[in-house]
């Protein structure tokens, strides 16, 4: 039985290969050797590994549809892959499936400075879009910290966020239209009809809105129209230190309640501050129980006015030290410290788990107290460094595998995620569900919720071959091991990108 199934799959893959080679010609790069395929067996969530049957690297957009059609024709599952920096196993291949690696489709096709729109290929890196737009004083707002390498296709699939998304919104708010190869092999532009002249108001259901954040389960994006923003006239940044965590949390709420929407509000607790300071010497106060980095931007007048207010609010909430960046270099130093947090954690503990949960902002203090209790009960340290303005926590559970603490750490990380849900929050703020948290979905959603989502998925992908096994819990998946230990992305080790 087993052998026949394997033979069938091998034959199906062979058939896919024959078809795509015939249709796409020699420019389609094919990786079929075991060693070559190995490089694609995992994304940045390295605990999960599945060797794909075949890796195809289109050299041209027009090759994507024939690949998808061949997979559908022969019943072979496939997954699109950008840079493989996903942290939830979204680009994990299916057993004996096809990986469509889009890294070569990385061109910025058009930047229209009047309409403030860029048309790009899916493999373009997030940062390359801002770089291309920069000459017109424009930029692409969502800024995941992996932006040097992660692709816009991956961002679209994960609805990625970043530090500045509090004010500017997430990927979903900045994608005007997506040209896709649908799971039935057809092509359509979601959100418009002409990707080269994208409109804001395509009629009918907002399928673009569904596609963004569907974690690659609704088709393969082949071209994307993104909105660009004008660089703000002014930017002001400060670091405020607090004697305790609740004061810092209250300051966050007070700023918002005062009617101010900062470009970013980031928070670090004492453990995180010390780790960062030791690593980067950004000038943080090692004694502070908590620090906030608050950045405002916008028209110069308003920015100055509100920055004054924010400074006052910090003082009113027991801030012990206020450090205001005097110039761009100081601002960069402040951010460098924050961005180094995850790498710096390695100094405290060789192993840690990174969690990604969200709570309503007003419940941050409660959440942090709850995490402290869970941490004490488990006997493991947890450092917190996070997007406070969004209530998006990134607790880092520190442990030692050598001391057999792995399972306790995993249980603690899962408890923290579920604590977020219990406080009225979410399982994930930016890393996605993928295979990593699929088994926790029933904690947040009822069977009816999941059925409705599944109906939607089935409308895009009736044959179920497009990135199967992600987002939704499956018996096979939930029988397996869950969250995994932190493993640095190769680019983190070289210092090119940071995780936060």
């Amino acid at each position: 039985m087993e052998r026949t199934a394997r033979t069938d799959r091998r034959q199906a893959l062979g058939a896919v290969l024959r078809d795509v080679v015939a249709e796409c010609g020699p420019s389609l790069r094919v990786l079929s050797g075991q060693a070559e395929r190995r490089a694609y067996e995992t994304d940045a969530l390295t605990v999960h590994r599945v060797l794909p049957g075949l890796v195809l690297l289109p050299a041209d957009r027009s090759q994507v549809a024939p690949i998808v059609r061949a997979c559908v024709r022969h019943g072979v599952p496939y997954v699109a892959r950008g840079a493989g920096t996903g942290l939830s196993g979204g680009a994990l291949p299916a057993e004996s499936g096809v990986v469509i690696a889009l890294a070569k489709l990385n061109r910025i096709l058009d930047v229209d400075p009047d309409r403030r729109v860029a048309i790009v290929e899916p493999g373009a890196t997030n940062l390359s879009i801002s770089a291309a737009a920069g000459e017109y004083g424009l930029y692409y707002a969502p800024d995941p910290s992996s932006q040097v390498v992660c692709t816009i296709g991956g961002n679209v699939a994960e609805n990625s966020g970043g530090a500045h998304c509090l004010k500017y919104g997430f990927t979903s708010h900045h994608v005007l239209a997506v040209e896709t190869v649908l799971p039935d092999g057809g092509t359509a532009v979601l959100g418009s009809d002409d990707i080269e002249a994208p409109c804001y108001d395509a009629p009918g259901y907002d399928l673009r809105g569904v596609f963004v954040g569907a974690e690659g389960t609704c088709g393969v994006a082949t071209r994307i129209a993104v909105r660009l923003l004008r660089r703000p006239e002014a930017v002001r940044t400060l670091v405020a230190d607090f004697p305790d965590v609740p004061s810092a949390c209250e300051t966050v709420s007070a700023v918002i309640a005062a009617g101010i929407v900062p470009a970013a509000i980031e928070m670090m607790d004492n453990l995180a501050i010390r780790a960062c300071e030791d690593a980067v010497h950004a000038g943080y106060d090692r004694q502070a129980a908590a620090s906030l980095i608050i950045e405002l931007d916008g028209p110069a007048e308003e920015c100055a006015e509100q920055f004054e207010q924010v400074s006052t609010l910090c003082s009113e909430h027991a801030c012990t030290r206020l450090r205001i960046a005097r110039d761009a270099a100081e601002r960069a130093a402040i951010w460098a410290g924050r961005k180094a947090a995850f790498a710096a954690m390695g100094r405290l503990s060789p192993e840690f788990l990174l969690q990604d949960g969200v709570v309503p902002r007003t419940r941050l203090a409660e959440a942090l107290a709850g995490i402290a209790d869970l941490s004490a009960a488990a006997g493991l340290r947890v450092a917190n460094v996070f997007h406070a303005g969004d209530g998006n926590l990134h607790p880092l559970v520190l442990y030692r595998e050598a001391d057999g603490q792995g399972p306790t750490a995993e249980a603690l990380a899962a408890d923290i995620a579920e604590l977020c849900v219990a406080l009225g929050g979410s399982l994930s703020g930016e890393h996605g569900i993928g295979v990593d948290k699929a088994c926790s979905m029933p904690k947040m959603f009822s069977p009816a919720d999941l059925t409705a989502m599944d109906r939607l998925r089935a409308a895009f992908d009736p044959s179920g071959l497009c990135n199967p096994g992600k987002v939704f819990p499956t018996p096979a998946l939930c029988g397996e091991a869950r969250a995994g230990a932190y493993q640095p992305h190769p680019l983190e080790e070289t210092g090119k990108i940071q995780r936060w």
Binding site: G161, D193, P203, G204, Y205, V212, A257, P299, P360, A459
Partner: protein
Amino acid sequence: MVGASSSASHADGGPSAAQGTSADGAGAPEPPAGPRSITPTTLKDLRDAVSTVGAVLIRGTGTATTWGAPVRDARTTVSLAGMDRVLDHRPADMTVHVQGGIRLDVLQSELAARGQWLPYDPARSEATIGGLLATGDAGPRRLAYGSLRELVIGATMVFPDGAIAKSGGHVIKNVAGYDLAKLCHGSLGTLGVVAELVLRVHPLPQTSRTVMVRDVNTALAQKLTWALTRSAIEPTAVEWCEPEQVLAVRFDGTADGAAARAAAARSMLTGSLAELDAGEAHSFWESHAARVVAEPGDTVLRAATRPGIDPGLVGALSAFADRAGVKALLTCSPATGAYTVRVTGADAKAHAELVKNWRTSVEAVGGFVMLRRRRPGVDAMVESWGRAPGSVEVMRRVKGNFDPENRFAPGRFAPWF
């Protein structure tokens, strides 16, 4: 607990709404032959109300039932008028949880009492929030703040089979699961009832200023719009109206900040300029909204194109209007490419002719034209929707998966599905 336009309310767990009938409340076992109206007050009653037999029309306040193609013989109208409350407003979280039947103007005044607002200004301020999401409507300020799709962070929907499903939640940052609320954006009551929404709200701006330039022809309007979008003064709205040929530019912000930006705009723009005082600005934006809404007997078209004011399209519109002997009043949001045309005068045949002709021009540049309202008789001569988008097959499957019996607003997207 049910009844035509009854305001009856009762606790959860009351008798099922679906068993009730209209005004007489006789509780007859068979549904009556004529249309009946149900006004549930709880989620459970709403569920029971939609899991009835026959076609269902979901009704908000009734400002947009004419949008899209006419619904075929709805047996039941389910009104959200009994589900019109704010469930939870958390100012410090900048979120508000409301029932789908709350009117936008009511919501805005409740938010304003706490110094906040939903930065969203469709012309139909008396419309319900569920209906606004379902119509995918947006006003001039969408340039700065987006439309409702950008402001919804969670939703509870009731599907035709009675399933109650949620997506999203109360937090502004959330990527767990599919975004079902987005699916309802533009669905015109064909997929499910938007029973509850969680919205991201914003601080009320201290002030709003409007700068107006007169005698701006199409080419100049285009030029000035691009000058504004290329600058760092961040207008909240840019609107151009024809035949008056005025360009109105709005700034929301702090008192000093908005004043500074308006001043910057005055020095950047050229021509016959004026900054409106508060009263003038209010009446300008009111009349702008009134034109978009129009009146019975008018035909109203909405075109979506790439951002810009296409001189070819504007020219074609007035030429076709002249030829048909009708008046076509246009408002355009050049920076987002939305055109709303109110057609008055002459007869249905003339209206239909204008729709057909201008739709051809708009589709030739990759856009769409839908009918929001039409003079009686127009439907027989021209379709409410033009060319179907390439993704229509997916929309059909979505509709089929959620409403296999085609009970919710059947015909709304005719001829597409």
